[in-house]
């Protein structure tokens, strides 16, 4: 939970840090859209090569942006860790789904033998029991899954049936494509949150929403809501940790137990969190009011945004990349 990147700005003086938040927000949004616009790999080697070259090109651009931020790669990887399951799940689903010309990459005949299944169950139980002590759990689990599949290719005794596991070539290409695409988009959003102060991000959002004021929509209130939410994310996470520890000391185990038990254990965390959040919200409202805050009233700003030459340069490059992808997509 401590690794969550949202609202975790890392102070720095890099070119990316210095960019106007409006430029960063719009450019990174355009780049994210561009990543999604890269055509899916076609059922021929030319189509595949083209898609992967474009994806590779984007990966190089994003890697350059990441290097320009001068922030440790570990920070980026930490934010990706939260979504590792999503990456792998997407990849496996694509791999197992027949697509295009259904050219087989792997065709395995798996035996359902009692001995084999018992060995796999034993591995799973052992993994669950020892998971606290296993480093890189996800990779170990994937390794065990592969090993289990390999084991099932042999008849280990007391076989009662068999089934076919088919992996398709197009599935492999599509899986790798979607995996890389999500990875790149997450990297881009992480660049934004790690190099932009929440207040600057809010100011940029407020600026882009400004036209809504002509429709009598008060965007400053909306911006304040986002700003306060970002401000209180780390505070509420700390609070959650404290409650987790307090409840653990009273015998609540959030990791073990049946589904029903786990739900009731989560309730023991949620109720105090809700009570604390409401109390904090009421106190904060009092503090803001006492300091002269009137929702929707005009305010001056400490942080002003400046659109400089570097912003113009970055924006032009983004537009060129975006336009190129659009042209390729249309052709």
């Amino acid at each position: 939970m401590n690794n969550i990147a949202l609202g975790q700005y890392v102070d720095g003086k890099s070119i990316i840090h210095k960019l106007d938040p409006r430029t960063k927000l719009l450019s990174l949004m355009l780049l994210m859209i561009a990543v999604f616009l890269i055509p899916k790999p076609l059922n021929n080697s030319f189509g595949r090569t083209a898609s992967f070259i474009m994806l590779g090109g984007f990966a190089v651009i994003i890697l350059m942006i990441v290097l320009f931020t001068k922030i440790s790669l570990i920070k980026y990887l930490n934010s990706l860790k939260q979504l590792a399951f999503l990456f792998i799940f997407t990849f496996i689903i694509q791999l197992l789904t027949p697509q295009g010309d259904n050219k087989l990459l792997l065709d395995l005949n798996l035996n359902l033998s009692i001995v084999g299944i018992l060995i796999i169950i034993a591995w799973i139980v052992l993994f669950i029991l020892l998971r606290k002590f296993i480093p890189l759990k996800l990779f170990v689990f994937l390794g065990l899954t592969c090993l289990s599949i390999y084991l099932l290719t042999y008849d280990l005794g007391f076989s009662f049936g068999s089934f076919k596991l088919k992996l398709y070539e197009d599935g492999l290409y599509n899986g790798s494509f979607f995996f890389t695409r999500i990875f790149l988009v997450i990297m881009l959003s992480t660049v934004l949150t790690l190099t932009t102060k929440p207040t600057d991000l809010t100011s940029a959002i407020e600026w882009y929403l400004h036209p809504l004021t002509y429709l009598k929509i008060n965007v400053s209130i909306f911006a304040m809501i986002i700003s306060l939410a970002l401000r209180f994310i780390p505070t509420l996470f700390n609070e959650t940790q404290k409650i987790l520890k307090a409840q653990s000391s009273r015998g609540v185990d959030f990791k073990e137990g049946t589904l029903k038990e786990q739900i009731s254990q989560i309730i023991s965390l949620l109720i105090p969190m809700l009570v604390i959040s409401f109390k904090r919200a009421a106190d904060l409202a009092d503090a803001m009011e006492a300091r002269g805050y009137i929702p929707g009233a005009p305010r001056t700003k400490l942080n002003i945004m400046k659109f400089g030459l570097s912003d113009l340069f970055s924006f032009i490059i983004t537009l060129i990349i975006f336009a190129t992808i659009i042209i390729i997509k249309v052709i």
Binding site: T199, S227, N238, R280, L284, A287, A290, T300, L302
Partner: protein, 269 residues
């Protein structure tokens, strides 16, 4: 700034009447400690003054200007408050942003905001933490930031609403030192709301509240002498005051007897 409560009554509901015909005058430049146990109505006074609660009966005057819902926005420009929970009043994402919050509401120009941030952070010795996030600060440091934010408003009246009650001894000491410094270096009217007699002892005047009524009012020395009144109001007197009070009622022949009596009183033997 002169503050006057005239027959003020307030209740959260019909059964819990907090203030009953409350009268109090605080003179310009005076430091007054409002002392009382939990539920005595002392924090309600602060909230009423800041316009966070509306009185049922009576009037409050700030420099002869009546405080009500029509004048509160203007009156808030002359008052600032430091609440008890340092986390729940930290609005900004960084120290700088938090101090700027009130000044932005006042619509001060950016240059003026920056000047005041520097000036008041230096005053509370927090200039090295200007870009720090609240999670990187201790409770005492957060409360010093809140004080800097209140000072930056340059208001004539400062209210400290149990601003040390959630701090550890180090944080409490830091905040109390700061209050003393403000008292000595500025001509501000200061109201310290507390249940701690030691904190109240720095004030020019102490007002003791019990069940929403003033039970005694005077200089710290005058108030501390009324030990029965303090105890009846649910307040724990300072050790030194208890010792003086107990020594007064007995006769001692020599230094040794006094020393023995002091040990006895200190450990309640």
């Amino acid at each position: 700034m002169k503050v006057r409560f005239n027959n003020v009554s307030f209740a959260y509901d019909e059964e819990s009447v907090v203030l009953k015909n409350f009268n109090l005058t605080i003179n310009d430049g005076e430091m007054v400690a409002i002392l009382g146990h939990n539920g005595s109505g002392k924090s309600t006074i602060a909230k009423i003054m800041m316009g966070l609660l509306e009185v049922e009966k009576g009037e409050i005057y700030l420099n002869d200007k009546v405080l009500n819902m029509d004048t509160i926005e203007e009156c808030r420009n002359h008052m600032s408050i430091i609440f008890q929970n340092p986390d729940n009043q930290f609005v900004g994402v960084t120290v700088k942003d938090d101090i700027a919050f009130g000044l932005e509401n006042k619509q001060l120009p950016r240059e003026e905001i920056l000047n005041r941030i520097q000036k008041y952070l230096r005053l509370v010795s927090m200039e090295d933490f200007i870009d720090h996030a609240p999670e990187e600060l201790s409770g005492g440091q957060k409360q010093r930031v809140a004080i800097a934010g209140a000072l930056a408003m340059e208001s004539e009246l400062m209210i400290f609403d149990e601003s040390t009650s959630m701090l550890d001894p180090k944080g409490t000491k830091e905040v109390n030192e700061m209050i003393k410094k403000i008292k000595n270096e500025n001509n501000k009217t200061i109201i310290v709301i507390t249940h701690n007699l030691e904190e109240a002892s720095y004030a020019d005047r102490i007002v003791v509240l019990n069940s929403g009524e003033v039970v005694t009012d005077g200089t710290p020395k005058e108030v501390f002498k009324k030990i029965e009144v303090l105890e009846a109001s649910g307040l724990k007197t300072m050790e030194s005051v208890s010792i003086i009070h107990n020594l007064k009622n007995k006769e001692y022949k020599n230094k040794k007897e006094i020393e023995e009596a002091l040990w006895e009183l200190t450990f309640n033997e």
